[in-house]
């Protein structure tokens, strides 16, 4: 048999063995990683609201939306807030943010929960004040100096995605 073909088959075999090994490691670490990511999200939710005062339910979003958290105050009727998990493509990977919007369409808080931007440069988005107070009004949106080519368009896109649907969601769109 052609020697080059055999070398290719050896490479393929090594690749398959490595793939299987990764699958085994993933089997054991994936649930723990999910726990870690959920803990980060719940920590962020607790920064936005006192969770003990609300009934919290979750809906799985589609497309760029991950889990949407629905908060209903225990003392009043009706919806009080949505916390959206939204993804957008940053410079070096997916940026995931949580954006909390109350029934008056005011942004109660936002947090970057996942990003792989270059440390010290593109990741300036973490903790940056984007100056967005009303979810549907992005006129005050401010980029991050020194990271505008990298992370800012992704964050703006995330706010835009929320702005496009939040009114409809409070009007009952989410249940549809």
């Amino acid at each position: 048999m052609n020697k080059g073909l055999i070398s290719g088959l050896v490479l393929l075999t090594i690749g398959i063995v490595c793939g299987l090994l990764l699958a085994v490691v993933n089997y054991f670490t994936a649930p723990k990683i999910q726990e870690v990511e959920d803990a980060i999200k719940y920590e962020a939710l607790a920064e936005f609201y006192t969770l003990a005062d609300y009934d919290l339910s979750e809906v799985e979003g589609s497309g760029d939306f991950g889990t949407i958290y629905i908060l209903k105050a225990k003392t009043t009727e009706g919806l009080d807030a949505f916390v959206y998990t939204v993804n957008a493509e940053g410079y070096s990977g997916v940026i995931e943010m949580l954006i909390a919007v109350n029934e008056n369409l005011e942004v109660d808080g936002y947090k970057v929960v996942k990003q792989t931007e270059t440390p010290g440069y593109g990741d300036k988005i973490v903790g940056h004040d984007f100056n967005v107070e009303i979810a549907t009004d992005l006129s005050g949106f401010e980029g991050v100096a020194g990271a505008s080519l990298y992370s800012t368009p992704a964050v703006l896109e995330i706010f835009q995605l929320v702005a496009d649907r939040v009114e409809a969601d409070f009007g009952g769109g989410l249940s549809e």
Partner: protein
Amino acid sequence: MNNKENFFKGIIKENPLFVSLLGMCPSLAVTTSLENAIGMTLGVFFVLVLSNFIISLIMSNSKLADLVKPVRIPVYIVVIATLVTIVEMVMHAYLPSLYFSLGVFIPLIVVNCIILGRAEAFASSNKPLDSVIDGVGMALGYGLAIMTISIFREFLGNGTLTVWGDLQVNLTFIFDFLKIEPIAMFVQPVGAFLTFGLILATITAIANNHKNKLAKKVANNG
């Protein structure tokens, strides 16, 4: 070369960072705290020792080595990338704060010149045990180098030494005694280059001094 020489060459004589100047990019980026340097060392140690062992095992079988030789670089990359992905997954699951702190520099271990360099220069032509010893020596040499840089940077830049998690040594009293503030520049990129340059200059001066003394000794004896 005996085992002892094989082990110590990576720490001093052929130190990958201070002598061969390999893998500088992630090294300078993660040395903002001692904890980051320790985490990076653990990752590199695991990958370097195991990749050296696996590659040496493959290449020490003459029939298999003949088949692998034409595709050896892709084979090295597949092996190294698998080990790095394992480190990434385990760190994400069990050491999340370190995982987020090291960020993109964990997957970048795949293209770290030290790992590929040792695979090609040593592991591919030596026995598995020798390759493991070489890997341990090189990883420790790399670790000592980045820990030295990080100790200087974190102390001068923050006045602290973060060993692991909450285990932090607060040395700000030294700055208080001197009536100055920590120099924040040292935890910035410019501080990385400055610290690295100064340590490198010191090591080179010591090495040159040692060489000159040896040369004089040889000349006097001759």
